[in-house]
Symmetry: C2
Subunit: 469 residues, 2 copies
């Protein structure tokens, strides 16, 4: 992907002017057009340029989102849904201007059905807010992408994170949702039954559609029981291959591991210094087990044996909450630790996901590529899913370096696709990866375009995203 | 649903004649037009009338399915995909005639990737064939709808069954698929990575679309490791409410129960006689646990305590394979056992699914309705999912009785939808339930219709199904 590949979207100045007038009058202080707030709503955590919307609306209900979308539809003006802005691929940019729909005031938890292990929330609720609210129920929401993202945004990008290996991704976690479609009609995609064979799966169609098919205004989410016990630890391995083989054996034996994270040697070095922990500087697996007291001990012991059989160890594990927290804090701080490897640099995160049988090969080829290209790019991965990130540390003001990183990213994405994988396991396509959609999906891109055309014939929902030019 | 609600589809005699000529010439013996074979390909296991296609093609590859669809598209002739014909809602009927595409010769297992716990198969492979093939790999395919259905048909109807509570449904089990779309183009919906955030979820869109959006010609399926140990047993309860509370507590405590089946007193009576087992004639839960030796014993003991706390018991369980098999054979024979309650009658199976908090209420109201209407209709349910079936035993030649059963089914479906549930947990919509789509999905039906129109503008793929008139 080169910056030049970003899909341009033509500005409809007349329509935008009309909508600005309508929304200002209708929403008053809840419609903002100041430059700072507009830029903040297009801010991306990559090197992608900021493309601000023309105004930011703060609706408080599905009905208000419908009003905004109807005004924009009437004047053919883009509408871009906004959660907290933690997406990585330019999802909230406004290449043709238009209206950012900030869902932060739609932050009510509408229902918790403890007996059914589900809850219904507005899209602006963040995952941490939800888990704080649930604390006394014995339940938790398991999807953890790291950032304290909004649940609407997480659904829109099909997010996941460290414990997807056990609890799945937003694809599995969203039971149904309400979305405002491009014509302003609201649709609720399903009931609260755990399964249904009634018609097309509109829930899964809208999850991951990045605001290009509808704007999510409510979500019913599956919850999990807080496990009775948790054990976890860190295990070093002589090589990435050995660590990957241990992951495969763990999954294949059906050990219900809750997290199994691969960290390469460079990343371990950065974490060791940053988090002041006595880590070995070799590839490691961070693992966690959820279950009964006896169950988590059994799981940890079985994993220890698997690690040893694959040349790894010692596997140091604990059920003590404080010790576990320290370990996982170090893992979660990996991003900040990485940045210390090159002070002043900005990080660009990649996100490929491959079948786990190809994980070691894919990581090894990528490490070789990093060395050959002279990049500084530590690696952490959700190994149980075959998903890993490299954080490319680069000078965002050096075009030659950007070009080099772009070449690296393109080679990495193509490598993953060649290995029967995907260019994005959890970050989404947005603007940044649209250039890889054809390589990954072939004719599927045309089918997606037919759907987009049918559901958003005017092309007003988050234009310039997800689908390639 | 009344028979009069079945969507008529106009016959295109000229087009059909043209396609019959083309396919006869192209496929020779692999294209059949005899009456018996045509009727067999429209046979349904309900009281729905048989509506035979005009010809049955037996393609052997995706390319051949493309040829058939292209010929039918050119002449605007319906194409109906056919697996083994075990669907219950008239999915394979041909209300406007046309061509049945029998996938039984597409029965190769294309790849088993043991390290990745997945396999790729053609759609005509049945679930039992796959599991026989996998026997030596330590893996199995967990979705078990009872019938030895084809995997293509199971995906098309989003099937599930007794162990969906642990392993999910076809929604979760299909990693990606290849489908021939209405224009004859083939699309592969994803790679083999366990997760992806790349674009619209075409896999989940086609799973459950009942052959109305595309014809599945290959599937990549998730497999599971065969558990080290299995334990299971039967536990009686004084009331359905007590049994349902035990189910809720089991799920909420996070016990990874593999099956948890509710059987009402009438069904137990039938099974007791039919299967010659010493069953109590009260509501029972049939349960099964998968895990390590220690794990399954712990799960069974914990479940026993939960049952006792809810007034149930004694819970008799075993890890001995032969004894378990006898129990589950009795459960699987429930359909045949039921038929003995009224010799000569035909059974019509209902399929509602509600949030488990409403399960006891929904079953109790349904039992009361059965009593009030004087029907004979035992109940079995996949209680962990909130899904249950009543088998209405009726004389298919008595219009008054059919009308009464139709009233009962309509009340049941509306009850489930009112309780935030669905009219079909796993059997699908087909023809039989299309009349309930609007009540369940509201405006969602229009969105589905927009998608159908975009992907099949000529309406040739399985017309008269899934969407209401």
């Amino acid at each position: 992907m080169a910056l030049s590949d970003l899909r341009p979207v033509e500005r409809n100045e007349e329509g935008i002017a009309a909508v600005l007038g309508i929304l200002k009058q209708r929403f008053g202080e809840r419609f903002q057009t100041g430059q700072a707030i507009r830029e903040q709503h297009a801010h991306t955590t990559t090197y992608l340029p900021t493309q601000p919307p023309d105004g930011v609306a703060f609706p408080e209900s599905t009905a208000e989102v419908q009003e905004i979308v109807r005004a924009c539809a009437a004047h053919r003006v883009p509408v871009i849904a906004f959660g907290v802005g933690s997406s990585l691929e330019g999802h909230v940019n406004a290449p043709g201007g238009g209206i950012s729909v900030d869902t932060s005031r739609m932050n009510r938890i509408l229902a918790v059905n403890a007996e059914d292990l589900d809850c219904t929330v507005e899209p602006g609720v963040t995952r941490e807010e939800l888990n704080t609210y649930l604390r006394d129920t014995g339940l938790f929401f398991p999807i953890d992408p790291g950032a304290n993202a909004s649940l609407g945004g997480m659904a829109a990008t099909r997010a996941s994170g460290t414990n997807a290996v056990r609890y799945g991704t937003m694809r599995e976690a969203v039971l149904s949702l309400t979305a405002v479609m491009a014509d302003g009609e609201a649709v609720t995609t399903g009931k609260r039954a755990k399964k249904s064979a009634a018609g097309y799966d509109l829930t899964r169609l809208i999850v991951g559609s990045e605001g290009t098919l509808g704007i999510i205004t409510a979500l019913t989410l599956r919850l999990q029981g807080i496990p009775q016990a948790i054990s976890g630890g860190v295990c070093p391995f002589p090589t990435l291959e050995a660590a990957s083989q241990a992951v495969i054996a763990t999954i294949q034996m059906g050990i219900p591991v809750a997290r199994i994270e691969l960290v390469n040697a460079l990343q371990m070095r950065a974490m060791k210094t940053y988090s002041k922990l006595d880590f070995p500087e070799s590839p490691c697996l961070f693992v966690e087990f959820h279950g009964s007291d006896a169950g988590v001990a059994e799981q940890a012991e079985t994993f220890g044996m698997i690690a040893e059989e694959n040349g790894g160890g010692p596997f140091l594990w604990t059920s003590v909450a404080e010790e576990r927290s320290k370990l996982w804090k170090a893992r979660h701080d990996a991003y900040w630790a990485s940045l210390t490897l090159r002070p002043g640099a900005k990080g660009l995160s990649t996100d490929v996901c491959v079948p786990i049988s190809r994980l070691a090969e894919c990581v090894a080829e990528t490490e070789a590529d990093i060395a050959e290209m002279g990049l500084i790019a530590p690696i952490v991965g959700h190994a149980g899913d075959g998903n890993f990130h490299t954080l490319c540390l680069m000078d965002p003001d050096d075009p030659a370096e950007i070009a080099k990183v772009e070449t690296f990213v393109a080679r990495l994405n193509e490598r993953a696709i060649r290995m029967d994988g995907t260019c994005t396991g959890e970050h989404g396509i947005g603007q940044g990866k649209a250039g890889f959609m054809r390589a990954e999906h072939g004719h599927g891109v045309d089918v997606m375009r037919q759907i987009k055309q049918a559901l958003d014939p005017l092309g007003i929902l988050n234009p310039g995203k997800t689908l390639p030019a």
